[in-house]
């Protein structure tokens, strides 16, 4: 039985198309690369300065100079390139990343995101998240639907904001939600839930798509 995280990562991977330039956030989003369909070739960007990032290194394969933005040793694929941080964020801010998949603390129905800080508790800093959310052509949030039962999909973000009106889509273990001008549009639900149950775990009102589908179930 797949974990919620695996299910989310699996479904998020289906959003990627051949040739897409993709930046995956640290944590859950990184798992997405495990589930990319074999006929889909994407170009992974790592904001510390790689295009064409490959797999994590196995023990003994490490090149001490080649890490990803999570400070893990990685390989690069043929055709990869390296660059400095200003160029890297020129790529990001300039709209040359097709899709970024990131985690979230909170998202609201206007597509506003909080992901980088919990005052008094967690103060890691925004790293590259603010620029990624601002600059990527499509922003997908991959997150568990709730935090220990507390809704993360809200009417209005209450934590410090990472970016305003920028999230396009939210993928959780329960649902796929598009952020529209009218608010959250429920497009898919997991096979073992109902729109009502998803609504109960969501603070903001969900508009239910007339073409509501069942989420593609997880496959090894």
């Amino acid at each position: 039985m797949a974990s919620a995280k695996e299910m989310i990562a699996y479904r998020a991977a289906q959003e990627l198309s051949n040739g897409d330039v993709v930046n995956l956030g640290i944590g859950l989003p990184t798992l997405v690369s495990n589930y990319i369909p074999p006929d889909v070739h994407i170009i992974l960007q790592s904001e510390n300065g790689i295009l064409g990032m490959g797999e994590l290194c196995m023990l003994g394969e490490e090149d001490k100079d080649c890490v990803n933005s999570g400070n893990q040793f990685v390989k690069v694929l043929p055709g990869a390139s390296y660059f400095d941080s200003a160029t890297s964020f020129g790529i990001i801010r300039g709209g040359h990343v097709d899709i970024t998949i990131l985690g979230a603390l909170q998202v609201d129905e206007t597509g506003t995101l909080a992901s980088h800080i919990v005052p008094g508790k967690m103060v890691p800093g925004m790293g590259g998240a603010m620029d990624l959310v601002e600059g990527a052509k499509k922003v997908i949030i991959a997150t568990t639907h709730t935090a220990k039962g507390a809704p993360k999909l809200l009417n209005k973000v209450t934590l410090p904001i990472t970016a305003v009106n920028k999230v396009d889509m939210i993928i959780t273990e329960l649902a796929v939600i598009e952020v529209t001008k009218e608010g959250f549009l429920l497009k898919e639900i997991a096979h073992d839930t109902t729109a009502e149950e998803v609504q109960n775990l969501t603070e903001a009102k969900l508009l239910v798509s007339s073409e509501l589908k069942t989420m593609l179930p997880y496959q090894e």
């Binding site: 103060v123 790293g127 305003v164």
Partner: protein
């Protein structure tokens, strides 16, 4: 030709208590460790550090954090070094968090003589605080101001005796832009080669930016 090669001890004479210092690297990859060790050894204090992050305890800029040598920090991320957060909470360290892309542009602007850059990153967030905003074509931008430093400590994978630097793989990160933005730039070289050994097309930081070279890194 001017000799730019110094001993670690000689190089450290250019850093003083209270200086503003840029330190290259991304989570300690491409951070010049020999300088971190020497700053700790010499106990140079009250530093105002500009860097992407503070590494992890015991690695990269984490060494300066552990030794409590930093008074003010401008960075994009401190999450992987809990000591940084603890010192901040205790009021021992003033931290200014800046989005990573804005940080890179601010450093570049400092080196390139720009008065600032306009970015929409951070609009509508706490990053706006104290910053001038401007609206162009109905879109809001923050004016992010240039950053510069007294000293920049950078890493170089291969450095020729004229100070030309080649950075291998992901070690380039903030090193190449910081090399342009400080009064004194000192590179920790993994390998020092003769002038002419680096291909002019492969040089990532022209030698004019580098004041001093110290060998023995990495």
């Amino acid at each position: 030709m001017i000799n730019k090669i110094l001993s670690l001890e000689e190089a450290m004479a250019f850093l003083h208590d209270g200086d503003t210092v840029m330190i290259g690297g991304f989570m300690a990859c491409g951070t010049p460790e020999i300088f971190m060790d020497e700053i700790v050894k010499k106990n140079i204090k009250n530093l105002k550090v500009i860097a992407n992050d503070t590494g992890v305890p015991g690695k990269g800029i984490g060494k300066l954090i552990s030794a409590k040598l930093i008074k003010e920090l401008t960075a994009s991320h401190i999450g992987l070094n809990p000591e940084t957060g603890a010192q901040m909470t205790a009021g021992e360290l003033k931290v200014t968090l800046v989005p990573q892309g804005s940080l890179a542009e601010m450093i570049r602007a400092g080196g390139a003589g720009l008065g600032g850059v306009l970015t929409s990153t951070g609009v509508g967030t706490e990053i706006e605080e104290g910053k001038q905003k401007i609206t162009l074509n109905e879109k809001e931008y923050l004016i992010e101001l240039p950053l510069s430093a007294d000293v920049a400590f950078i890493h170089g994978s291969v450095v020729d005796k004229a100070g030309n630097v080649f950075y291998n793989s992901t070690t380039r990160n903030f090193n190449s832009i910081m090399a342009t933005a400080a009064k004194t730039v000192i590179v920790a070289a993994e390998k020092i080669v003769e002038i002419g050994e680096l291909d002019a097309n492969h040089i990532m930081t022209p030698g004019i930016f580098v004041d001093y070279i110290v060998g023995g890194e990495g």
